[in-house]
Symmetry: C2
Subunit: 221 residues, 2 copies
DNA sequence: ACTTGTGAACCATTTCACAGCT
DNA sequence: AGCTGTGAAATGGTTCACAAGT
């Protein structure tokens, strides 16, 4: 029997949109878990997260959570099951490249906020910024990037540099062993097939909003 | 039903993912239009933008662009056709709410960059920030938001406030006539059905990257 | 009566495959 | 030979509808 089991519990592939929603569910559950309700119904999660109840149930099913009718899902178990999927066993180390306005905002936003993920090093080509500590994160000259990424076993990189520099940075991060990138630069990064890239393109998003604000929202939000 | 303008050609609905890619195509075309090539092939656009050639052709077809075999698509016409769809006739005015680290980064990034879209007013609940000009944008106390949004006929709002404040701000923006929101707060905004919301959730995106960096990238990027 | 769990239908979007043009 | 334009098939994801649990 070729049953493929992994360090975490879930056996199979998790649809990629589901991962995003699980992150959402967990955050909102953390916010509501407290008063006394130890259980939630799928429709409550759905309301808070802006999705449908059956979507919630399906997502939870995928990661092997189950609830009981007329009691709902146990909050604590839900959170820990989602965490088992999303976070993996050890602290996830992240490198930030580009300490401009955006980079600093990211540092401010993230520092110390996440129990299982931390921006452990930041890099910039401006030597002014090197060897300082910004929002609790040590900054380095970009020349030392490979060395530090390797030494710290960093697997995730955040690209917050100008468009022209982004591809070069991505290449170097990948060469240093990074396997996932969050890219804020408005270019499509070319990376080997095994590396995952998520783009956040603020200009495109704003243009989309402007378009639909004018043309009328499509049926699906 | 308010302003219904009849832009050049495209008769029907444009699929919502297509809008995002058109924004991308236009930006990259602007960057490449210069040397001498007045025409591009779909596969060239595709390469630069990280999509497939047939996707490009379909997107362009939707907005009524056509190219000729063995010459490709005329760049200038492409850009102006995309612009006709995305930008609409007049300058699109945008309001920013929340002048924290992120808000300031957005102002720095956007000011004066876009020919048809401009952040014309920013708001914050901190009176320290009111009535100053940051990165060329006038800042106001949040109390005056409705008044100014209405007076300036602002149709797009950017929500860059803490989670707890986001829903209240969204309600007030919508009441003041905004029809599209770009939401950076990690909550699902409840808005009337006619208002379009695009979420940018950095934490979720990072968690997604961390997950796929660990678990292996899915087939589609 | 209200919930969960889930096969099946449905829908949007992408990709295939190829005819037609130059 | 290599491109565009586009029906048709495939894919991926969401919603429906309902059986079963409590």
């Amino acid at each position: 029997m070729p049953i493929e089991e992994n360090p975490p519990v879930h056996g199979g592939k998790i649809p990629h949109r589901t991962i995003g929603r699980l992150s959402l569910y967990r955050r909102q559950l953390g916010r509501m878990g407290g008063p006394d309700g130890t259980h939630v119904y799928s429709h409550q999660i759905a309301d808070i997260c802006g999705v449908t109840p059956e979507q919630v149930r399906r997502d939870l099913m995928v990661i092997g959570c189950s609830g009981s009718p007329n009691r709902g899902y146990p909050v604590a178990e839900l959170v820990s099951d989602i965490t088992a999927v999303l976070d993996g066993p050890e602290m996830q180390r992240v490198a930030l490249v580009g300490i401009g306005n955006l980079g600093r905002a990211l540092l401010a936003y993230f520092t110390g906020r996440h129990p299982k993920m931390s921006i452990v090093a930041a890099f910039d080509s401006d030597p002014e910024k090197a060897d300082r500590i910004i929002h609790g994160c040590r900054c380095h000259p970009v020349q030392r990037m490979e060395e530090i990424v390797r030494a710290e076993r960093i697997a995730v990189g955040v690209v917050a540099v100008p468009a022209a520099a982004a591809q070069g940075i991505a290449d170097r991060l990948v060469a240093a062993g990074v396997r996932g990138l969050l890219n804020f630069a408005p270019v499509a990064l070319r990376v080997p097939n095994s590396v995952f890239v998520e783009d956040i393109d603020v200009t495109t998003s704003l243009e989309k909003v402007a378009y639909f604000a004018r043309a009328g929202k499509p049926a699906t939000a």
